[in-house]
Protein backbone atom coordinates (compact mmCIF):
# COMPACT_ATOMS: atom_id res chain seq x y z
CA UNK A 1 0.00 0.00 0.00
CA UNK A 2 1.12 3.60 -0.46
CA UNK A 3 2.13 5.35 2.72
CA UNK A 4 1.05 8.85 3.75
CA UNK A 5 3.56 10.62 5.99
CA UNK A 6 2.05 12.88 8.61
CA UNK A 7 4.08 15.95 9.64
CA UNK A 8 4.64 16.43 13.37
CA UNK A 9 2.23 19.34 13.86
CA UNK A 10 -0.63 17.30 12.40
CA UNK A 11 0.04 14.05 14.25
CA UNK A 12 -2.29 14.90 17.13
CA UNK A 13 -5.08 14.81 14.54
CA UNK A 14 -3.96 11.40 13.27
CA UNK A 15 -3.93 9.49 16.54
CA UNK A 16 -0.27 10.40 17.10
CA UNK A 17 1.16 8.30 14.26
CA UNK A 18 3.81 9.54 11.85
CA UNK A 19 2.52 7.59 8.83
CA UNK A 20 -0.59 5.84 7.63
CA UNK A 21 -0.74 2.92 5.21
CA UNK A 22 -3.79 3.58 3.09
CA UNK A 23 -5.43 1.84 0.15
CA UNK A 24 -6.06 3.74 -3.07
CA UNK A 25 -4.81 4.27 -6.58
CA UNK A 26 -4.86 8.09 -6.60
CA UNK A 27 -3.94 10.76 -4.07
CA UNK A 28 -7.63 11.62 -3.79
CA UNK A 29 -8.55 8.05 -2.88
CA UNK A 30 -5.87 7.98 -0.18
CA UNK A 31 -7.17 11.21 1.33
CA UNK A 32 -10.73 9.88 1.23
CA UNK A 33 -9.59 6.87 3.28
CA UNK A 34 -7.62 9.19 5.56
CA UNK A 35 -10.71 11.35 6.08
CA UNK A 36 -12.82 8.35 7.07
CA UNK A 37 -10.29 7.32 9.72
CA UNK A 38 -9.29 10.81 10.89
CA UNK A 39 -11.92 13.44 10.00
CA UNK A 40 -10.18 16.14 12.07
CA UNK A 41 -7.01 15.68 10.03
CA UNK A 42 -8.91 15.94 6.75
CA UNK A 43 -10.47 19.16 8.01
CA UNK A 44 -6.99 20.61 8.54
CA UNK A 45 -5.95 19.71 4.99
CA UNK A 46 -9.08 20.35 2.94
CA UNK A 47 -11.53 23.16 2.45
CA UNK A 48 -14.48 21.18 1.03
CA UNK A 49 -13.06 19.09 -1.81
CA UNK A 50 -10.04 21.32 -2.37
CA UNK A 51 -6.69 21.15 -0.63
CA UNK A 52 -6.15 24.23 1.50
CA UNK A 53 -3.91 26.65 -0.31
CA UNK A 54 -1.17 26.56 2.30
CA UNK A 55 -0.91 22.77 2.24
CA UNK A 56 1.28 21.07 -0.34
CA UNK A 57 1.28 17.39 -1.19
CA UNK A 58 4.17 15.49 -2.70
CA UNK A 59 4.23 12.02 -4.21
CA UNK A 60 7.72 10.82 -3.52
CA UNK A 61 9.69 14.01 -4.22
CA UNK A 62 7.35 15.65 -6.72
CA UNK A 63 4.70 18.30 -6.05
CA UNK A 64 1.30 17.01 -7.20
CA UNK A 65 0.50 20.44 -8.68
CA UNK A 66 2.73 19.64 -11.62
CA UNK A 67 1.67 16.03 -11.76
CA UNK A 68 -2.09 15.51 -11.87
CA UNK A 69 -3.09 17.20 -8.64
CA UNK A 70 -5.42 15.03 -6.55
CA UNK A 71 -5.82 12.63 -9.48
CA UNK A 72 -2.09 11.84 -9.41
CA UNK A 73 -1.79 8.06 -9.48
CA UNK A 74 -0.07 6.28 -6.61
CA UNK A 75 1.34 2.76 -6.51
CA UNK A 76 2.23 0.46 -3.63
CA UNK A 77 5.46 1.68 -2.06
CA UNK A 78 4.90 5.30 -3.08
CA UNK A 79 5.33 7.83 -0.33
CA UNK A 80 2.85 10.68 -0.10
CA UNK A 81 3.96 13.63 2.03
CA UNK A 82 1.90 16.44 3.44
CA UNK A 83 4.06 19.55 3.59
CA UNK A 84 2.65 22.22 5.85
CA UNK A 85 3.81 25.81 5.86
CA UNK A 86 6.28 26.21 8.74
CA UNK A 87 5.79 29.51 10.52
CA UNK A 88 8.32 29.73 13.32
CA UNK A 89 11.85 30.90 13.48
Amino acid sequence: MPVVRIPTPLRPHAGGVDKLDLAGSTVKELFDRLGEAHPALRERLFDGEELRRFVNVYVNDEDIRYLEDLETPVAPGDEVSIIPAVAGG
Binding site: T8, F54, E62
Partner: protein, 345 residues
Protein backbone atom coordinates in the same frame (compact mmCIF):
# COMPACT_ATOMS: atom_id res chain seq x y z
CA UNK B 1 39.92 46.55 3.49
CA UNK B 2 43.70 45.99 3.37
CA UNK B 3 44.76 42.61 2.03
CA UNK B 4 46.39 41.62 5.33
CA UNK B 5 43.09 41.72 7.13
CA UNK B 6 41.86 38.83 4.99
CA UNK B 7 44.13 36.66 7.15
CA UNK B 8 41.28 36.24 9.63
CA UNK B 9 39.37 34.42 6.88
CA UNK B 10 42.31 32.21 5.87
CA UNK B 11 40.65 28.97 6.92
CA UNK B 12 37.61 29.49 4.78
CA UNK B 13 39.62 30.94 1.89
CA UNK B 14 41.57 27.69 1.79
CA UNK B 15 38.31 25.99 0.91
CA UNK B 16 38.87 25.88 -2.86
CA UNK B 17 35.30 26.62 -3.93
CA UNK B 18 35.40 29.90 -2.02
CA UNK B 19 39.02 31.00 -2.38
CA UNK B 20 40.34 34.54 -2.21
CA UNK B 21 38.08 35.85 -4.94
CA UNK B 22 35.03 34.49 -3.16
CA UNK B 23 36.18 36.05 0.10
CA UNK B 24 36.71 39.42 -1.52
CA UNK B 25 33.21 39.24 -2.94
CA UNK B 26 31.84 38.45 0.54
CA UNK B 27 33.68 41.42 1.99
CA UNK B 28 32.05 43.72 -0.58
CA UNK B 29 28.53 42.39 0.03
CA UNK B 30 25.56 43.86 1.85
CA UNK B 31 22.96 41.60 3.44
CA UNK B 32 19.65 42.49 5.09
CA UNK B 33 18.80 40.07 7.90
CA UNK B 34 15.06 40.41 8.48
CA UNK B 35 14.26 39.35 12.01
CA UNK B 36 16.88 38.69 14.67
CA UNK B 37 15.42 35.92 16.79
CA UNK B 38 16.43 32.29 16.64
CA UNK B 39 17.09 32.07 12.89
CA UNK B 40 18.37 35.63 12.64
CA UNK B 41 20.99 35.36 15.36
CA UNK B 42 22.45 32.22 13.82
CA UNK B 43 22.42 33.81 10.35
CA UNK B 44 24.02 37.04 11.55
CA UNK B 45 26.62 35.13 13.55
CA UNK B 46 27.71 33.05 10.54
CA UNK B 47 27.77 35.96 8.11
CA UNK B 48 29.60 38.35 10.43
CA UNK B 49 32.28 35.74 11.09
CA UNK B 50 32.48 34.91 7.38
CA UNK B 51 33.20 38.56 6.62
CA UNK B 52 30.12 39.85 4.84
CA UNK B 53 30.99 43.53 4.51
CA UNK B 54 27.76 45.06 5.70
CA UNK B 55 24.98 43.50 7.73
CA UNK B 56 21.72 45.29 8.36
CA UNK B 57 20.01 43.64 11.33
CA UNK B 58 16.31 44.47 11.43
CA UNK B 59 14.10 43.45 14.35
CA UNK B 60 11.06 44.83 16.15
CA UNK B 61 11.37 43.03 19.46
CA UNK B 62 13.15 43.05 22.81
CA UNK B 63 14.94 40.18 24.52
CA UNK B 64 13.28 37.93 27.08
CA UNK B 65 14.76 35.16 29.18
CA UNK B 66 12.88 32.47 27.25
CA UNK B 67 14.72 33.58 24.09
CA UNK B 68 18.12 32.55 25.45
CA UNK B 69 17.51 28.83 24.87
CA UNK B 70 17.99 29.33 21.12
CA UNK B 71 18.86 32.92 20.23
CA UNK B 72 22.60 32.52 20.28
CA UNK B 73 23.80 36.13 20.29
CA UNK B 74 21.99 37.10 23.50
CA UNK B 75 22.75 36.60 27.18
CA UNK B 76 21.30 37.40 30.60
CA UNK B 77 22.94 40.83 30.69
CA UNK B 78 21.06 41.80 27.54
CA UNK B 79 17.76 40.83 29.16
CA UNK B 80 18.63 42.85 32.26
CA UNK B 81 19.69 45.84 30.14
CA UNK B 82 16.34 45.91 28.30
CA UNK B 83 18.05 45.97 24.95
CA UNK B 84 16.19 45.54 21.68
CA UNK B 85 17.35 42.46 19.80
CA UNK B 86 18.84 44.39 16.87
CA UNK B 87 20.96 46.57 19.17
CA UNK B 88 22.15 43.70 21.38
CA UNK B 89 23.01 41.64 18.30
CA UNK B 90 24.95 44.53 16.77
CA UNK B 91 27.06 44.87 19.94
CA UNK B 92 27.95 41.16 19.92
CA UNK B 93 28.64 41.10 16.20
CA UNK B 94 30.97 44.10 16.43
CA UNK B 95 32.91 42.30 19.14
CA UNK B 96 33.11 39.24 16.90
CA UNK B 97 34.23 41.14 13.80
CA UNK B 98 35.16 44.81 14.07
CA UNK B 99 36.22 45.03 10.42
CA UNK B 100 32.69 44.87 9.01
CA UNK B 101 29.76 47.29 9.22
CA UNK B 102 26.80 46.34 11.38
CA UNK B 103 23.69 48.43 11.09
CA UNK B 104 20.98 47.66 13.67
CA UNK B 105 17.47 48.84 12.83
CA UNK B 106 14.80 48.59 15.52
CA UNK B 107 11.60 48.60 13.53
CA UNK B 108 8.68 46.52 12.42
CA UNK B 109 9.19 45.61 8.78
CA UNK B 110 6.09 46.67 6.88
CA UNK B 111 5.02 47.73 3.41
CA UNK B 112 6.01 51.34 4.05
CA UNK B 113 9.64 50.67 4.91
CA UNK B 114 10.74 47.36 3.39
CA UNK B 115 11.97 48.70 0.05
CA UNK B 116 14.17 51.26 1.80
CA UNK B 117 15.49 48.56 4.14
CA UNK B 118 16.49 46.09 1.43
CA UNK B 119 17.09 48.09 -1.76
CA UNK B 120 20.89 48.33 -1.31
CA UNK B 121 21.24 44.69 -0.21
CA UNK B 122 22.73 42.00 -2.42
CA UNK B 123 20.68 39.40 -0.56
CA UNK B 124 17.75 39.28 1.87
CA UNK B 125 17.66 36.66 4.60
CA UNK B 126 14.57 35.43 6.38
CA UNK B 127 15.04 35.36 10.12
CA UNK B 128 11.37 36.09 10.80
CA UNK B 129 8.82 34.01 12.66
CA UNK B 130 5.69 34.82 10.67
CA UNK B 131 4.26 34.53 7.18
CA UNK B 132 3.05 38.09 6.94
CA UNK B 133 6.61 39.39 6.90
CA UNK B 134 7.79 36.54 4.67
CA UNK B 135 5.27 37.38 1.96
CA UNK B 136 6.27 41.01 2.25
CA UNK B 137 9.94 40.03 1.81
CA UNK B 138 8.91 37.86 -1.14
CA UNK B 139 7.06 40.76 -2.79
CA UNK B 140 9.98 43.14 -2.27
CA UNK B 141 12.58 40.62 -3.46
CA UNK B 142 10.62 39.71 -6.59
CA UNK B 143 9.90 43.34 -7.39
CA UNK B 144 13.56 44.33 -6.97
CA UNK B 145 14.89 41.10 -8.53
CA UNK B 146 16.95 40.29 -5.45
CA UNK B 147 17.68 36.82 -4.14
CA UNK B 148 16.27 35.86 -0.76
CA UNK B 149 16.33 32.75 1.40
CA UNK B 150 13.29 31.49 3.26
CA UNK B 151 13.62 29.50 6.47
CA UNK B 152 11.04 28.28 8.98
CA UNK B 153 11.31 26.05 12.04
CA UNK B 154 8.89 24.47 14.47
CA UNK B 155 9.53 21.81 17.08
CA UNK B 156 12.32 19.64 15.69
CA UNK B 157 11.67 20.30 12.02
CA UNK B 158 12.33 23.05 9.60
CA UNK B 159 12.37 23.95 5.95
CA UNK B 160 14.34 26.30 3.76
CA UNK B 161 14.42 27.31 0.11
CA UNK B 162 16.44 29.77 -1.90
CA UNK B 163 14.55 32.14 -4.16
CA UNK B 164 16.18 33.68 -7.21
CA UNK B 165 13.37 35.77 -8.71
CA UNK B 166 12.65 34.76 -12.28
CA UNK B 167 14.92 31.74 -12.07
CA UNK B 168 13.37 29.67 -9.30
CA UNK B 169 9.87 29.45 -7.80
CA UNK B 170 9.07 32.20 -5.29
CA UNK B 171 7.42 31.70 -1.90
CA UNK B 172 3.96 32.25 -3.37
CA UNK B 173 4.62 29.65 -6.08
CA UNK B 174 5.21 27.22 -3.23
CA UNK B 175 2.62 28.38 -0.72
CA UNK B 176 0.00 30.51 -2.41
CA UNK B 177 -1.47 32.08 0.72
CA UNK B 178 -0.41 32.40 4.30
CA UNK B 179 -2.12 30.04 6.71
CA UNK B 180 -4.72 31.93 8.76
CA UNK B 181 -3.71 32.59 12.38
CA UNK B 182 -4.28 29.53 14.50
CA UNK B 183 -4.05 27.06 11.60
CA UNK B 184 -0.36 26.40 12.04
CA UNK B 185 1.50 25.95 15.28
CA UNK B 186 4.02 28.56 16.34
CA UNK B 187 7.16 28.23 18.42
CA UNK B 188 5.11 29.50 21.37
CA UNK B 189 2.43 26.82 21.01
CA UNK B 190 4.42 23.84 19.72
CA UNK B 191 7.86 24.63 21.07
CA UNK B 192 11.14 24.68 19.21
CA UNK B 193 14.56 23.11 19.70
CA UNK B 194 17.64 25.32 19.44
CA UNK B 195 19.65 22.84 17.35
CA UNK B 196 16.78 22.54 14.83
CA UNK B 197 16.92 26.30 14.30
CA UNK B 198 20.71 26.22 14.01
CA UNK B 199 20.53 23.56 11.31
CA UNK B 200 18.06 25.49 9.16
CA UNK B 201 19.76 28.85 9.68
CA UNK B 202 23.12 27.26 8.88
CA UNK B 203 21.70 25.92 5.61
CA UNK B 204 20.44 29.42 4.85
CA UNK B 205 23.88 30.83 5.68
CA UNK B 206 25.76 28.43 3.41
CA UNK B 207 23.45 29.22 0.51
CA UNK B 208 23.98 32.92 1.29
CA UNK B 209 27.74 32.46 1.10
CA UNK B 210 27.35 30.74 -2.28
CA UNK B 211 25.19 33.56 -3.67
CA UNK B 212 27.43 36.34 -2.38
CA UNK B 213 30.68 34.69 -3.49
CA UNK B 214 29.38 34.03 -6.98
CA UNK B 215 28.88 30.27 -6.69
CA UNK B 216 25.25 30.11 -7.76
CA UNK B 217 25.78 26.86 -9.63
CA UNK B 218 26.26 25.16 -6.26
CA UNK B 219 22.90 26.30 -4.87
CA UNK B 220 20.38 23.68 -3.85
CA UNK B 221 17.29 24.10 -6.06
CA UNK B 222 15.01 22.08 -3.75
CA UNK B 223 12.75 22.76 -0.80
CA UNK B 224 14.83 21.29 2.00
CA UNK B 225 13.01 19.67 4.91
CA UNK B 226 14.82 18.47 7.99
CA UNK B 227 13.62 16.82 11.17
CA UNK B 228 16.47 16.64 13.66
CA UNK B 229 14.51 14.44 16.06
CA UNK B 230 13.48 11.78 13.52
CA UNK B 231 16.69 12.17 11.49
CA UNK B 232 14.91 12.79 8.23
CA UNK B 233 16.39 14.95 5.51
CA UNK B 234 14.40 15.49 2.35
CA UNK B 235 14.94 17.51 -0.78
CA UNK B 236 11.66 18.11 -2.58
CA UNK B 237 11.78 19.06 -6.23
CA UNK B 238 10.10 22.40 -6.72
CA UNK B 239 11.83 23.79 -9.82
CA UNK B 240 8.88 22.90 -12.08
CA UNK B 241 6.52 25.04 -10.01
CA UNK B 242 8.01 28.12 -11.68
CA UNK B 243 6.38 27.35 -15.00
CA UNK B 244 3.40 25.39 -13.82
CA UNK B 245 1.89 27.53 -11.11
CA UNK B 246 0.00 30.69 -12.02
CA UNK B 247 1.78 32.73 -9.37
CA UNK B 248 0.19 36.13 -8.70
CA UNK B 249 3.52 37.48 -7.49
CA UNK B 250 6.37 36.39 -9.74
CA UNK B 251 4.21 35.69 -12.81
CA UNK B 252 1.43 38.25 -12.34
CA UNK B 253 3.72 40.91 -10.78
CA UNK B 254 0.94 41.65 -8.30
CA UNK B 255 2.56 42.58 -4.98
CA UNK B 256 -0.35 42.32 -2.58
CA UNK B 257 1.67 42.59 0.63
CA UNK B 258 3.87 45.38 -0.66
CA UNK B 259 0.86 47.36 -1.77
CA UNK B 260 -0.47 47.10 1.76
CA UNK B 261 -3.57 45.15 0.77
CA UNK B 262 -2.50 42.24 2.94
CA UNK B 263 -1.27 42.22 6.48
CA UNK B 264 -1.89 44.74 9.20
CA UNK B 265 0.34 46.89 11.28
CA UNK B 266 -1.35 46.07 14.55
CA UNK B 267 -1.02 42.35 15.07
CA UNK B 268 -1.45 39.67 17.66
CA UNK B 269 1.93 38.13 18.41
CA UNK B 270 0.68 34.61 18.00
CA UNK B 271 0.88 32.39 21.05
CA UNK B 272 2.50 35.07 23.19
CA UNK B 273 -0.63 36.60 24.65
CA UNK B 274 0.59 39.92 23.35
CA UNK B 275 -0.36 42.46 20.71
CA UNK B 276 1.88 44.82 18.81
CA UNK B 277 0.25 48.19 18.33
CA UNK B 278 1.94 50.37 15.77
CA UNK B 279 1.21 54.02 15.42
CA UNK B 280 3.29 55.83 12.84
CA UNK B 281 4.95 58.92 14.25
CA UNK B 282 6.89 61.62 12.48
CA UNK B 283 8.90 62.46 15.58
CA UNK B 284 10.39 59.90 17.98
CA UNK B 285 8.55 59.49 21.28
CA UNK B 286 9.89 61.63 24.10
CA UNK B 287 10.64 58.95 26.71
CA UNK B 288 11.38 61.27 29.68
CA UNK B 289 8.12 63.13 29.02
CA UNK B 290 6.11 59.91 28.73
CA UNK B 291 7.81 58.49 31.83
CA UNK B 292 6.91 61.51 33.94
CA UNK B 293 3.32 61.35 32.70
CA UNK B 294 3.06 57.69 33.72
CA UNK B 295 5.07 58.01 36.95
CA UNK B 296 2.09 58.77 39.19
CA UNK B 297 0.55 55.32 38.77
CA UNK B 298 3.18 53.06 37.28
CA UNK B 299 6.81 52.20 37.78
CA UNK B 300 8.47 53.21 34.54
CA UNK B 301 11.90 52.13 33.32
CA UNK B 302 13.47 53.38 30.14
CA UNK B 303 16.74 53.55 28.25
CA UNK B 304 17.52 54.95 24.80
CA UNK B 305 15.82 52.02 23.08
CA UNK B 306 12.64 51.29 24.99
CA UNK B 307 10.35 52.25 27.82
CA UNK B 308 8.54 49.71 29.97
CA UNK B 309 5.74 49.94 32.52
CA UNK B 310 2.89 47.87 33.88
CA UNK B 311 -0.70 49.00 34.18
CA UNK B 312 -4.06 47.29 34.54
CA UNK B 313 -2.39 43.89 34.56
CA UNK B 314 -0.62 44.51 31.26
CA UNK B 315 3.05 45.01 30.56
CA UNK B 316 3.76 47.74 28.02
CA UNK B 317 7.01 47.94 26.07
CA UNK B 318 7.21 51.10 23.99
CA UNK B 319 9.75 51.88 21.26
CA UNK B 320 10.86 55.34 20.10
CA UNK B 321 9.06 54.90 16.76
CA UNK B 322 5.73 54.76 18.60
CA UNK B 323 5.25 51.01 18.49
CA UNK B 324 4.24 49.19 21.64
CA UNK B 325 4.07 45.54 22.54
CA UNK B 326 1.30 45.02 25.08
CA UNK B 327 1.39 41.78 27.01
CA UNK B 328 -1.57 40.15 28.66
CA UNK B 329 -4.07 40.30 25.81
CA UNK B 330 -4.68 38.79 22.37
CA UNK B 331 -7.44 41.27 21.65
CA UNK B 332 -6.34 43.85 19.09
CA UNK B 333 -9.16 46.28 19.87
CA UNK B 334 -8.48 46.10 23.60
CA UNK B 335 -4.78 46.67 22.94
CA UNK B 336 -5.51 49.73 20.81
CA UNK B 337 -7.69 51.09 23.61
CA UNK B 338 -4.96 50.51 26.18
CA UNK B 339 -2.50 52.21 23.86
CA UNK B 340 -4.55 55.38 23.54
CA UNK B 341 -5.32 55.31 27.24
CA UNK B 342 -1.71 55.17 28.44
CA UNK B 343 0.53 56.25 25.59
CA UNK B 344 -1.76 58.47 23.59
CA UNK B 345 -2.68 58.51 19.96
Amino acid sequence: MPVDSLERYSRQMRFPALGKAGQEALCKSTVAVCGCGALGTVLANHLARAGVGKLRIIDRDFIETHNLQRQILFDEDDVASNLPKAEAAARKLRAINSTITIEPVVTDIDHTNILALVSDADLILDGTDNFETRYLINDAAVKLGKPWIYGGVIGSEGQTMTILPGETPCLRCLIETAPPPGMTPTCETAGVLGPAVSVIASFEAIEAIKILSGARAALNPCLIMVDVWDWTFRQLKIANLLGKVDCPCCKGRKFEWLEGGQGSHTTTLCGRNAVQVAVRRDEPLDFPELASRLASFAEVRHNAFMLRFAAEGHEFTVFPDGRAIIKGTNDVTRARTLYSQFIGS
